[in-house]
């Protein structure tokens, strides 16, 4: 190990060493001074990490996956079990009321912390989602394993069997009677699985996960003294009330407690959790016990997929432009409006759904008169926080397609895109330093033959590709080829995919992997065990190249919590988030031991890690990677110098010898 690594270790050791004296203002100031002094030294150093591989999963919150995780001796974790919210068997614990869920009243204008709350007597029954039957023509699940493997070839073989199992047997939107006691659930988290009628391998519904909805679900407020609280007690209420009709009136007979087309189709899906103490998520659990689990990693932006991937790529939100870098105003029907429709309780006007085929997703958050803006800005103002919304900018909050097709032509299939952007991204920072980077999107090769995504079997995720938004990449075929590839080789061009590059030792410095929709673990359209299978294949491949393994950090992360409940602290950073915690693990020779790392982090922390590792500048003057590393007081989860984001360096122990 080089001396610079030791220096970096010293920095983070210093941070940790001062945790016990966090209550002392003097001690905290001293810690800051030490950190500041060391930072000037350490910034010029490197670690043994020459390759960072970020592997995305989709739509799972921390408690949804690791809610009953018990760490190795000497480690602590914040989850449903440790908080006493549930027992190891998944039943309500002594502190169950900490996760109680309420209905509320919001009938005039959008509120992030509405009044008129009353405890649900029982949860709205969760409804079924995912495919009812298997199909070899369409998959998920397939009926025949050989057909399945041909369509999804990137799982480790032991997981292939799960491509043909797990159909729900229940029509979508019907009561999910596979869930124990489904129509009489207590008003808090419930175990999704029971080992018989609903197993870990079964498909299940996906909760709502959109920007304004999640602000409301987390129910954040601040008092006059600037004390902030996020109660996270409105998850099912928003789920059953907000609607998704983009301006249309609620269906006749609209109800929160029923099933079918007169509901939002979800019920209280958001409150379901897996039970790792009973064997769910076995591979992720084994990784947690062998490597390092992060229990304070958050989605950067309230809401869904697109904006959170953008957060990783740009460390910022993305604004609407004329396509040439000048700020512009989007058409009025592309602006979100979470105000309740007249005569309804919280049934949104423009709900953020719709994507390529309609629905508003932009907000001009510098204008308090815009729908939805004032409550959030007011909340941030009480905390003395800058919303970080520039005048005239309309920021993308949810999912719109990138402005470019995969071949670099303009995306004209829909007006519901984010126009081509000249906004600076992490690739620019890496490229300026002579470092290499590639986005590996599974099924990219297929997508290049199907730019309109008209093939229903094409599960490539275009909105996940952070470089597909960028003009400097997409207007140059050489740049596209250099920075966007598939997991597998391209049979038409001969370009090497991720697995070949791993085997050849030609992997770039930074790799971002987005599994296809088959294997990304997204509820309803995928399963968490399929993601485990792809993750296993990736880790196995890297470890099979010992030289590469010794210089690599694999960061497992999700795009967002998927709208599932989480009991963790949420730090207010700016208008866009943070949001709920997500599962995250760092797999590396330098993160062994089953540690649980509590440093407050979000997607941008990965940018910060990259920048710290290679001594790189922040992406832009306003991007979140400018935020300082956290300093903690008595609570190891809550930065006292917020807004602050961890650079993840403290999760590593570079003194670990080669193994």
């Amino acid at each position: 190990m080089s001396s610079p690594s030791f220096l970096r270790m010293s920095l983070h050791s210093a941070q940790r060493a001062y945790l016990p004296i966090g209550k002392s203002v003097l001690g905290t100031l001293l810690a800051l001074a030490v950190i500041a002094a060391l930072s000037t030294i350490v910034l010029a150093q490197n670690t043994p990490i020459q390759h960072v591989i970020v592997v995305f999963g989709e739509n799972r919150s921390f408690d949804h996956v690791f809610g009953t995780y018990v760490p190795p001796a000497g480690q602590t974790v914040h989850n449903l079990l440790s908080e006493g919210i549930v027992n190891p068997d998944g039943t309500p614990g002594k502190n169950y009321k900490k996760a109680h869920q309420y209905e509320a009243l919001d009938t005039i204008t959008y509120e992030i912390s509405p009044t008129g709350k009353s405890l649900f007597a029982y949860l709205p029954p969760p409804l079924a989602g995912g495919d009812e039957y298997c199909s070899d023509t369409t998959g998920e699940p397939f009926c025949t394993e050989s057909v399945a493997v041909a369509a999804e070839p990137n799982l480790s073989p032991a997981w292939d069997q799960y491509l043909i199992t797990g159909a729900t047997g229940i029509p979508k939107k019907n009561f999910d009677t596979r869930i124990t006691n489904d129509q009489n659930l207590p008003p808090g988290p419930f175990q999704l699985t029971n080992g018989t009628t609903l197993t870990y391998d079964d498909y299940a519904a996906s909760p709502i996960h959109r920007f304004y909805q999640m602000w409301q679900q987390t129910d954040c407020s601040a008092n006059a003294k600037g004390v902030q609280t996020c109660k996270s007690d409105l998850f099912p209420w928003v789920e059953v009330s907000a609607g998704d009709s983009n301006g249309a009136a609620p269906p006749a007979g609209f109800t929160w407690f029923g099933e079918g087309s007169t509901t939002t189709g979800e019920g209280a899906t958001s409150m379901g959790f897996y039970n790792v103490a009973q064997g769910d998520a076995p591979y992720l659990t084994s990784l947690a016990k062998q490597y390092t689990l992060l229990d304070n990693m958050h989605q950067s932006v309230m809401g869904g997929t697109g904006a959170n991937h953008i957060a990783l790529g740009y460390a910022d939100a993305m604004a609407y432009t004329n396509g040439n870098g000048s700020i512009a105003t989007p058409p009025s029907n592309q602006v979100e409006n979470p105000n309740p429709q007249p005569g309804t309780n919280n049934y949104y006007t423009q709900d953020g759904y719709g994507g390529a085929l309609g629905g508003g997703s932009y907000t001009s958050c510098a204008q308090e008169s815009q729908p939805g803006v004032k409550p959030i800005v007011t909340y941030l103002g009480k905390l003395g926080l800058n919303p970080n919304c520039d005048d005239g900018n309309y920021y993308l909050l949810n999912n719109y397609d990138p402005g470019y097709n995969g071949d670099g032509t303009l995306e004209t299939f829909t007006p519901y895109t984010i126009p081509p952007t000249t906004q600076r991204h992490i690739g620019d920072v890496l490229g300026d330093a002579g470092l290499t980077y590639t986005f590996f999107g599974e099924q990219w090769n297929l997508y290049l033959t199907d730019l309109a995504l008209q093939n229903p079997l094409d599960d490539y995720c275009n909105i996940c590709n952070v470089f597909q938004y960028a003009t400097d990449i997409m207007t140059n075929p050489a740049q596209i080829s250099a920075h966007i590839q598939d997991l597998t080789d391209n049979p038409n061009t001969g370009a090497l995919g991720f697995f070949s590059q791993v085997a050849n030792g030609t992997l770039p410095n930074v790799s971002i992997i987005q599994p296809s929709g088959f294997a990304d673990g997204h509820p309803a359209t995928s399963k968490l065990d399929l993601w485990e299978g792809e993750v296993n294949n990736i880790i196995t491949a890297v470890q099979a190249n010992p030289t590469l393994w010794q210089s690599t950090a694999i960061i497992l992360i999700f795009d967002e919590g998927g709208g599932y409940y989480d009991s963790g602290y949420i730090q207010p950073i700016d208008y866009f988030g943070d949001g709920t915690r997500m599962p995250s693990l760092i797999i590396s020779p330098y993160t062994t031991g089953g540690n649980v790392y509590h440093g407050y982090a979000d997607h941008v922390s990965i940018d910060k890690f990259i920048e710290a590792n290679w001594n790189l500048p922040a992406i832009s003057f306003r991007s979140r990677d400018n935020l300082p590393n956290p300093v903690y007081g008595s609570d190891p989860y809550v930065p006292i110098n917020g807004p602050a984001l961890d650079d993840l360096m403290g999760a590593f122990n570079f003194s670990l010898a080669k193994k």
Binding site: Y416, P456, N462
Partner: protein, 178 residues
């Protein structure tokens, strides 16, 4: 003529009328079983022969393509042309209703079944779905939409104005959550 004497012609006439009524009823019943003049017109295949501009909603938005239809009574063959590629199609007509399948090639071949109706204004509208049904990946942007995707076609190629699918501004589609 006694009473019995004039009764016979009346009975004969009644029988004749009854038979006539029965015949008439029988004729009407047959008319219900067989197409009337107007019903025959409804089942007569609509004329679709020729070229059409089609706008088809897919995951990324709206695809614009050209249909070149060859009609043989109630059977349809032809091509579906998009992005410089041409795919064969086969289908049928039943009155104003049209159904045709387009087998798209490529690394993962698939067949889309288009169903729709032909109206008198040289326009067709309908929905499309993956042949075989079942799950269709809708993408994170459209994950709440059902897999049936709308399409619209207008006859002829002279009008080069925009052919709008439901995805264009001002016409946001109605979403169905899952």
């Amino acid at each position: 003529m006694n009473r019995r004497g004039w009764m016979k012609p009346i009975l004969f006439l009644s029988s004749l009328l009854a038979f006539a009524a029965l015949f008439a009823g029988s004729t009407q019943a047959s008319a219900n079983d067989l197409p009337s003049t107007s019903n025959v017109a409804k089942l007569k295949p609509a004329k679709v022969d020729g070229k059409w501009r089609i706008a088809w909603d897919v995951r990324a938005g709206t695809v614009k393509a050209i249909l070149d239809l060859k009609q043989h009574a109630d059977q349809v063959t032809g091509t579906f042309q998009e992005y410089g590629k041409t795919y064969p199609l086969t289908g049928s007509l039943q009155g104003q209703n049209i159904t045709f399948d387009v087998p798209f090639g490529g690394p993962r071949p698939y067949t889309i079944e288009f169903k729709g109706t032909v109206d008198r204004k040289k326009k067709m509208t309908g929905t499309s779905a993956l042949k075989g049904g079942g799950h269709v990946f809708l993408g994170h942007a459209n994950e709440i939409q059902e897999p049936e995707r709308p399409w619209t076609a207008t006859k002829g190629l002279k009008n080069r104005g925009p052919i709008t699918g439901t995805g264009l501004p001002g016409k946001p589609p109605k979403d169905d959550d899952d």
